[in-house]
Subunit: 225 residues, 2 copies
């Protein structure tokens, strides 16, 4: 029953998130419950829960009696998210440095290795997932559930922002900068690690093209496939 047949709520959320991150779903598009229920072949009840989850991740806005729409972050909001990220992730890195284990470092290095292979293979989907996953992994290792949850939020919103505002062909984070941060942590150089993280985030932000959005596609079925 819980998974009697259809796709799970979390899978729906992930599909939508990916569609947004890959720019197949444009900001402002309405996510109609009926359409989505037909596309994923589940009842509207489950779609509703997925939409609620997407709302709390900051990817869609739900207007009562109107429906769910993909968020359109403003330029100010975009800058805001990066400002907060610099602050929060600086704290994450500092926290990690105090108590990092060999196993933690191995996980981080393994993750960066995955990012490299995805990058060389041009596996767009994997690149998107992994580049956010690195920052999430740092938060997890920091050991604070609250920081982890906050980073989840921030990364979701960053995905949306980069999807809307990026102008280059490449995606959020390069694995090289991630590797440098891991090295600094491994060396116990907290100050350097924090600095690298801040620089890394500035670099990502600097690649954004901060103009207003204009168009938006309407073919929900093609976007979610």
């Amino acid at each position: 029953m819980t998974e009697q047949a259809g796709i799970s709520i979390q899978q729906i959320v992930e599909k939508v998130w990916l569609s947004i991150a890959e720019r197949r779903l444009r900001p402002g598009v309405q996510l109609k419950e009926g359409q989505m229920a037909a596309i994923f072949d589940v009842s509207r009840a489950r779609i509703r829960q997925a939409l609620a989850a997407l709302e709390r991740e900051g990817l869609v806005t739900i207007i009562p009696n109107r429906g769910a729409f993909v968020c359109q972050p403003t330029v100010d909001e975009a800058r805001d998210v990066f400002t907060i990220r610099r602050s929060v992730e600086g704290r994450v890195v500092a926290r990690i440095g105090a108590s990092v284990t060999k196993a933690d470092l191995a996980r981080l290095r393994g993750h960066v290795a995955q990012e490299r292979t995805a990058n060389t293979n041009d596996a767009t989907t994997d690149i998107i997932k992994l580049s956010g996953g690195f920052h999430l992994l740092l938060a997890e290792i920091s050991g604070s559930d609250f920081l982890f949850g906050m980073m989840r939020d921030l990364i979701s919103r960053t995905s949306l922002i980069t999807a809307v505002y990026r102008n280059t062909a490449r995606f959020n984070c390069g694995p090289d900068e991630h590797a440098e941060i891991v090295d600094a942590i491994a060396a116990g150089d907290l100050k350097k690690a924090s600095g690298l993280m801040e620089h890394h985030l500035e670099h990502v932000e600097s690649e954004l093209d901060l103009r207003e959005v204009r168009d938006m596609s309407h073919d929900l079925r093609a976007a979610l496939a």
Copy 2:
């Protein structure tokens, strides 16, 4: 039908939150959908949405196929929340200082005044709502939607933590410390304001009794009334 008769989802959330903050609902208690539906005289669907909202606020934990339970924050998590709050609220105050208007200050002073009257009247419910509201108002004035949302989360969790761990009769925040912070902001002294905020949060944290929780009441109906 949106509000055809019954209590709204947000009202349910607020009732539960208040019940937790006033210690009528103890950590670990299961919030059974059937009971709550009967108590509030709405269908389980609405209760489910309310529980999902409470989960994202960090007040309850939902275990699949098991149900929703009032969270039991550990001592570590409690300290964690206060650490983050010191960091985030320092940023909030700094942000405010740059762009505070006369109207903002009037709102802050008005809020503190409300707190004072609630305090002199021993209006417990109001005190709880207003003491968190002050910090939320600061976040709102800061102008960052994301900071506002984060503070919402942090304040919810703080309410739970103080409900569980407080040992004194008094509640979270005294209006006097709030008033001092407003004065510092009004004087344009950001450094002082940040320091006062940090001190204020340390003061609140210092009044907690950090031992393990043990008992938990079971009379859901009496608690939610």
